[in-house]
Assembly symmetry: C2
C-alpha cells in the first residue's frame, strides 16, 4: 500500500536495510583488461606466474662475484686478495667463470657467473690493479638473488578477489600476466525527479531550483570507482518517470533522487513497485530516511531523498556498500575513521540512526570534532563544511560534549 500522504507506518532499521541491499546485489561479470588498466579493480580469476622471477641467479649489489670460501677470515687489517679476471656485462650470459682465488666485477642485477656463489659489496673491497682486496667475508648465497625467489613459474600470484594496487600492477608485469579478468565496474544511471528542477546554469523562474543532486551523486559514484550516467531531470509525472526509469535500465543500477517521501508527488517508490518490486521504503536514518530500494527487471533501483544532504547520506550508508560489493570489494572498502573528542553535544532520537556532520581540528595535540550547526537536510553547505560524520546508533540518545567518538572521514 502506498505511503503517499499517509506518512511512513514504520522505518526499517539501518543495519537491516543495509543487509537487504547487500544480500540482493552481486558482482557483475568479468572483463579482460590489459594489466596497465586494472588499478583499483578486483581480480575475477586466480592469476599464476608464467615465469620464474627473477629468471636467473643475480647479484643484488654492485661489487664482485666470488666464491664465498675465498673471503672467509677477511678483514680490514687482513684483507683477502683475489685476482680480478673480468666483468659480467648486464643483460647477457656471463662469458667468464670463477675459479678459486678469483673475482669478477659485477653490477646489481647482472647474472652470477658460473662458479660464483656470493657477491661482495664494492664498499667492502679495495681495487688493487689486477687484484681486489676483500675487507669483510661473505657467506655462500650472500648478496645473491636466487632464480625464482620472488615467484616461480606456475605459482599462484593472486587469488580471485585481490584488489589491484600499484605493487600488484608491477607483479602482473613481472609474471607476464598481460591481460587479466577483473570484475566489471557498475554503470549507474542517475535521474533527478521534480518539476521544479533545472539544469545548472539555467536561468531560474520563480519556484524553480537548480538540480545539484545529479552532479553530487555522479561524483559520489565516480569516487567509488564506478561509471556515472547522468540522465537529467524528470518532472513529477508518473508516465514520464516510468519512461525515464525504463530507459535507465540498460545500466547496472539506477538512482532516482527526489520523489521518495510521502507527498502526493513522491511517485518514485510506487513506480518501482509498479514496474518491479520494492524491498524497503523508509529507513531509520536521519538525514536520509525517505529511501527505497527495489528491483526492476533484475536491476537494483534506489529511490533516494531529494534533499541534498539526505541524498548523500542515503548514498553513503545504503548505495555505496552495494556499488563496492558489485565490484567485488568489501562493503567498507576505503573507509577511514579517526577517534576525536566532541566539542559540542550531538542529539538523536532513540530508534533512529542520526548522522552528525563534524569539523575536525587539533587542539593541544588532540583531535576535536565540532558538530556543524545544521538547520535541515536541505543545507548542502553543512556537508561542504564537514570533514567527517559521527553516527549516533539507534539505541543511543546522543553524545555529549567531551565524549570520545568515532569519526568517519569524508
Amino acid at each position: 500500500m502506498s505511503v503517499r500522504m499517509r506518512g511512513f507506518a514504520e522505518y526499517m532499521k539501518l543495519d537491516k536495510a543495509q543487509r537487504i541491499v547487500l544480500s540482493n546485489v552481486r558482482t557483475l561479470g568479468a572483463e579482460a583488461l590489459p594489466f596497465q588498466d586494472v588499478l583499483g579493480r578486483v581480480l575475477a580469476e586466480n592469476v599464476r606466474s608464467a615465469v620464474d622471477a627473477p629468471p636467473f641467479d643475480r647479484s643484488s649489489v654492485d661489487g664482485y662475484a666470488v666464491k664465498a670460501a675465498d673471503t672467509f677470515g677477511a678483514s680490514g687489517s687482513s684483507p683477502k686478495k683475489l685476482r680480478l679476471i673480468g666483468a659480467v656485462a648486464i643483460g647477457t650470459k656471463p662469458k667468464v667463470s670463477i675459479k678459486k682465488g678469483t673475482a669478477v666485477k659485477i653490477m646489481t642485477g647482472a647474472p652470477l657467473p658460473k662458479g660464483a656463489d656470493a657477491s661482495v659489496m664494492v664498499e667492502n673491497t679495495r681495487a688493487r690493479g689486477k687484484f681486489i682486496e676483500v675487507l669483510s667475508p661473505v657467506t655462500p648465497g650472500k648478496n645473491v638473488g636466487k632464480r625464482g625467489e620472488d615467484i616461480v613459474a606456475g605459482e599462484l600470484v593472486f587469488k580471485k578477489g585481490k584488489v589491484i594496487r600499484p605493487q600488484e600492477v608491477g607483479m602482473l608485469a613481472l609474471t607476464q600476466n598481460l591481460r587479466v579478468n577483473v570484475f566489471r565496474r557498475p554503470r549507474v544511471a542517475i535521474l533527478a525527479t521534480g518539476s521544479e528542477l533545472r539544469k545548472p546554469g539555467s536561468k531560474l523562474k520563480f519556484g524553480e531550483i537548480t538540480d545539484s543532486n545529479s552532479y553530487a551523486l555522479s561524483a559520489a559514484v565516480t569516487s567509488q570507482g564506478c561509471v556515472a550516467d547522468v540522465l537529467g531531470t524528470v518532472p513529477d509525472d508518473k508516465k514520464k518517470l516510468r519512461q525515464a526509469i525504463s530507459s535507465a535500465l540498460g545500466d547496472d543500477m539506477v538512482f532516482v533522487s527526489g520523489g521518495a517521501s510521502v507527498g502526493e508527488l513522491d511517485l518514485v517508490p510506487d513506480t518501482i513497485s509498479d514496474m518491479g518490486k520494492v524491498l524497503f521504503h523508509g529507513v531509520a536514518l536521519r538525514p536520509g530516511g525517505p529511501t527505497a530500494f527495489g528491483f526492476i527487471r533484475r536491476k537494483p533501483v534506489f529511490s533516494l531523498p531529494g534533499f541534498p544532504v539526505a541524498v548523500l547520506m542515503a548514498f553513503h550508508f545504503l548505495a555505496r556498500p552495494a556499488l563496492l560489493a558489485m565490484q567485488g570489494l568489501p562493503a567498507d572498502y576505503g573507509r577511514r575513521c579517526v577517534r576525536a573528542k566532541l566539542s559540542g553535544d550531538v542529539s538523536s532520537t532513540l530508534g533512529r540512526a542520526d548522522v552528525a556532520r563534524v569539523k575536525l581540528s587539533v587542539e593541544n595535540g588532540k583531535l576535536l570534532a565540532e558538530p556543524v550547526m545544521v538547520l535541515g537536510s536541505g543545507i548542502l553547505s553543512s556537508m561542504t563544511r564537514a570533514d567527517g560524520l559521527v553516527v549516533v546508533p539507534e539505541d543511543v540518545e546522543g553524545f555529549s560534549k567531551g565524549q570520545d567518538v568515532e569519526v568517519e572521514l569524508l
Copy 2:
C-alpha cells in the same frame, strides 16, 4: 664528486630529504574545468555564489502551508480546523495566498504562498473534505526553508585550496559555478634504465628481466591523481640516458628507476648533475636508500632505485608528497593509519628509517600486524602480500613483538 664504485659517503636523513623535496616543488598553474570534472581536484581560486540558495522560501515537508498562529493549542484531542483553499504547484509561483483560518496543500520544495509562515507535516493533520484538522501546533518559520539559508548571492562558497568532494561538486552546481579554476595535475614521465630490461610480454634471453617498475610507478602516479607518461626503457648508456631524460622534460616531473646507486652503471644521478643540479643522493631509508632528487631546466627529477620494493618505497616517502603538493594537496593527503600490535619483531639500524611490510589480521577483536618475511628489496611479492607499512624511525633500534605500532595502510 660521483659516488660510483665508491659507495655513499653519507645518507641524508629521511625527514631532511622530504623537506628538501617539498620546499623545491610548487603548485602547477591553474586550468578552468567544468564543475562536473573537478572531483578530487583543488581549487586555485576563491569561489562565490552567483545566486541565493534556495532562491525562495519553500516548504521542507509535505503537508499544508498555514499561518502558525492558527495552529497554536492544536492537539489530537482538540484539533484546529482550517479551510483548505487550494494547493501550491511545485516549480511555479503560487496562485493562492493564505488568510487567517485557511491552509494550502503544499509539497516539499514548493514555494510558500503569500501569507503563510509555516508548514504543518501531513502526518500531523487529518483531511476532512474541504477542511483539514491540525493535530499539533507549529511555530512561525517551522518546516520552512528560507531563501538564501544555504548560501546567498555573492557569499564565499569555497576558498582557494579547497579539495573537491562529491558534496562540493553539488555545491558548485547549486551556486551556478559552471567552470572553476583548479590546479593542474602533474604529468609524470616514467623511464626505466637498465640494459637488461625488456617490455612485459617480451621473450627473455638469459640475463634479461621484465621491466615491472615502469608499470608499478605508473599505477602509483595514477593513484595520486596524476597522469603517468610511460616512456619505456633506456639502456645503461650515458648518451641514450641523456637523450631520454631530455625528451621527458616536456612533462612536469621525471622519474627514472634504476641506475641510482653506486655501481659503474648507475649513471642517473651523474646525468642529472651534468644536465642540471642534484639536491641529494642517498637517503637513510631502507628499502629506498639509493634515491636522488634534482632539477633539470626547472623540472624536478627523481632518480629512483631499480629494485621493485625500493622504488615503491622511494615513491611513497619522497615522490608522492611532491606530487600531492604540486596539485595543491597536503603532503599527507589520503594517508590512512591504524594502530596494531606487532606479532613479530621488526629490526632496524640506528640512523636509518627502516620500513617493514606487515600483514594485518584481527585476533580477539584486536588488530595484529605480522611482519612479512623478506629476503631483499628485490622481492616484489613482499609488497603484494603486505597490507601496510611500519616505519622504524632513525633513532629507534626496532620494535618488539607485542608492541603497539602505527601501521600506514597501503
